[in-house]
């Protein structure tokens, strides 16, 4: 599903260049459930940005489902993100003035799906994360765990090839975190490819494989 080959990325600030990713090689097979761990500054966030087509890389190759992702214009990048990748964020990132249903339906709006159709589908996905009856609530009327489930439903609605989660449990208590991981587990059993960035060991343990990063390099892979 994901094939990174000798990815390099550096940020320039003034005269000094910060080499954030150094020759990163990474293979993730379809249907894998993977976590990426590392301390802050290890490059794991940048790696996630590259995987999510939110940021460019300097050299190397990124193949997503066999397609080369390189030097995309903003429009194409937006289209790839919309079609191929579902995002789950630490801060949930729901739009506060939209209901749960409208939040879930939003990616379909950018695909040009008609309102009725996308709302029907959004309701289906809310049902799948167990929040059907909360469809008409605004985010601030939902608990943290519920919000993150809405975010997961939103990430799934475009039937992405890849679910990217950035510290998805960072703002949740332990019990809620575990319940979210159970949901991810179910999605994994349904065949979805999932990559989670986390710094919590107990979360990483609940994935199939953990990739450790340090100083911009992949240091170890734990099966």
């Amino acid at each position: 599903m994901i094939r990174l080959e000798k990815i390099n990325k550096s940020y320039r600030s003034g005269n000094t260049a910060l080499h954030v990713l150094r020759d990163v090689d990474l293979h993730i097979a379809p249907g894998e459930f993977v976590s990426i761990m590392g301390s802050s500054g290890s490059g794991k966030s940048t790696l996630l940005n590259v995987l999510g087509i939110l940021d460019r890389y300097d050299s190397g190759q990124y193949l997503l489902d066999g397609q080369l992702v390189k030097g995309l214009g903003e429009r194409e990048a937006a289209r790839y993100r919309n079609r191929f990748i579902g995002f789950v964020f630490q801060a949930f990132n729901l739009l506060p003035f939209k209901t749960a249903l409208e939040n879930v339906a939003l990616p379909l709006y950018y695909q040009g799906v008609a309102r009725r159709a996308r709302n029907a589908l959004a309701l289906e996905y809310l049902d799948r994360v167990g929040l059907r009856e909360r469809a008409d609530h605004l985010p601030n009327e939902l608990s943290g765990g519920e919000r993150q489930r809405v975010a997961v439903a939103r990430a799934l609605i475009t039937r992405p090839k890849l679910l990217l989660a950035d510290e998805p449990t960072g703002a949740l208590d332990t019990e809620t975190s575990y319940r979210l991981m159970e949901l991810f587990g179910e999605l994994h059993r349904d065949g979805l490819t999932i990559v989670i960035v986390t710094h919590e060991h107990d979360i990483a343990e609940r994935t199939e494989r953990t990739i450790r990063m340090r100083d911009g390099k992949v240091t170890a892979e734990v099966a």
């Binding site: 940021d55 429009r75 079609r83 995002f87 801060a91 939209k98 990616p107 950018y110 040009g112 475009t158």
Partner: protein, 410 residues
């Protein structure tokens, strides 16, 4: 899809009610003021046009006076006297349409009919005079050529004269009125847009007036209408006229006092020119006000974009293209400016209508209002300025990095 976009935008606007309201207010104020100014300008214009409604605009009036320079062996201070011949000669000039002389009875004269009696101005004129004063005959007829040729004692009276000398049910045509001991047959009644004063006049044939005063052929005033509406052409005709009359009366070519010429078209043209400037001024001031409103919208949208960086980042992460973000902000600006601006125009038109009804028509100000053309122009201007207001914020929004969606906090 347009409906979809509208939904997105409305929800964003509803989310920031106060801000949206304040922005809308500033734009509405701008268009309201623009409309008021334009309406007031129009009122001023209508007022002045009204002042000119009385007489033919394309006309030249010539009045003789005293010479101020010696010429051809003649002393200064001599009275210039016009005659029927002068009128005929000038009437033959190219560009002259109708011509009439005037012979004034001195002062207001007491006019009697039976026991009724009142004082009026009496003018001896040619039949073509009605074109010069825009005289409207309501009963009978105006003076004709035979009246002049035969020196008939006939009179055409103004509607005010009729009111004073005749009872309401009395038919004035065929009745006699008495001026300075002579009887005149009333042949017509007229109205004049010049108001009551102009309707207090009595017209008699020029030849009759000249005979009464024993000054055959004498004219006090020469009046002409022109075939042109062009100011420059009228000025050439006036110059030709003046030169011709000066030669006929041995007036020094540099003598500015001997013959007074009044070109109404030129006067009207000057005022029209002033109005062009006033109109330009109004647009500049109005557009300035509008511009301030638009800049306000632009600013608020900029703030809005800054506040919504996170939201825009999330939208982009979820697949919003830069184009769709630009569209979103642009249309937001358009929606605010066009709806509030339109409301301002409507309000302005309403206030103008109220003012127009409430205050009486004053000299030089009447019927303020804006026509559809100008209202549509203002709305088009609004649409343009709305797009302009949204442009900078929209481009800034399009540059928002989707990575902000990943950052923690806020």
């Amino acid at each position: 899809m347009i409906l979809e976009a509208a939904r997105e935008i409305l929800s964003a606007l509803r989310h920031n009610k106060l801000r949206t309201f304040l922005t809308a207010l500033s734009v509405a104020w701008g268009t309201f003021m623009l409309t008021l100014l334009l309406g007031a300008g129009r009122g001023l214009e209508n007022g002045v046009t009204w002042e000119f409604r009385d007489d033919a605009v394309a006309s030249i009036w010539v009045r003789p006076s005293q010479t101020s320079l010696p010429y051809a062996g003649r002393r200064p201070g001599r009275d210039v006297r016009f005659s029927n011949d002068d009128l005929e000669v000038v009437d033959r000039l190219a560009g002259v349409e109708h011509a009439s002389g005037r012979f004034y009875y001195w002062g207001q004269l007491s006019v009697a009919r039976g026991s009724r009696r009142a004082s009026f101005d009496i003018r001896g004129v040619h039949p073509d005079h009605r074109h010069l004063e825009r005289t409207e005959i309501t009963h009978g007829r105006f003076l004709n050529d035979r009246d002049v040729v035969e020196g008939r004692k006939v009179a055409v009276i103004g509607s005010e004269v009729r009111k004073m000398l005749f009872a309401e049910h009395e038919e004035p045509i065929g009745e006699y009125i008495e001026i300075r001991g002579l009887s005149y047959l009333v042949v017509g009644v007229f109205e004049d847009q010049g108001g009551q004063d102009e309707q207090r006049k009595i017209y008699v044939p020029i030849s009759t007036a000249q005979a009464v005063y024993r000054e055959p052929g004498r004219l006090h005033h020469l009046l002409f209408t022109l075939t042109t509406e062009d100011v420059a052409t009228s000025q050439r005709i006036a110059d030709t006229m003046l030169t011709l009359l000066m030669e006929r009366h041995d007036v020094h070519p540099d003598d500015r006092r001997a013959i007074r010429i009044q070109n109404n078209l030129e006067r009207f043209g000057k005022i029209t020119e002033v109005f062009t400037w006033i109109r330009a001024f109004v647009w500049i001031v109005g557009c300035g006000t509008l511009l301030a409103g638009v800049i306000g919208v632009g600013n608020i949208l900029l703030i809005s974009v800054a506040e919504r960086t996170k939201e825009i980042g999330i939208r982009k992460a979820l697949g919003a293209t830069p184009f769709s973000i630009v569209g979103m902000i642009l249309v937001e600006g358009l929606v605010i400016t066009v709806t509030s601006g339109y409301a301002g125009v409507v309000l302005g038109v309403g206030v103008l209508a109220l003012v127009s009804n409430a205050i009486p028509a004053a000299p030089f100000f009447r019927n303020p209002g804006v026509d559809l053309e100008i209202a549509l122009g203002a709305v088009a201007l609004l649409a343009l300025s709305g797009a302009l207001a949204g442009l900078v914020p929209a481009l800034r929004a399009a540059r928002v990095d989707p990575m902000v969606a990943l950052r923690e906090g806020d």
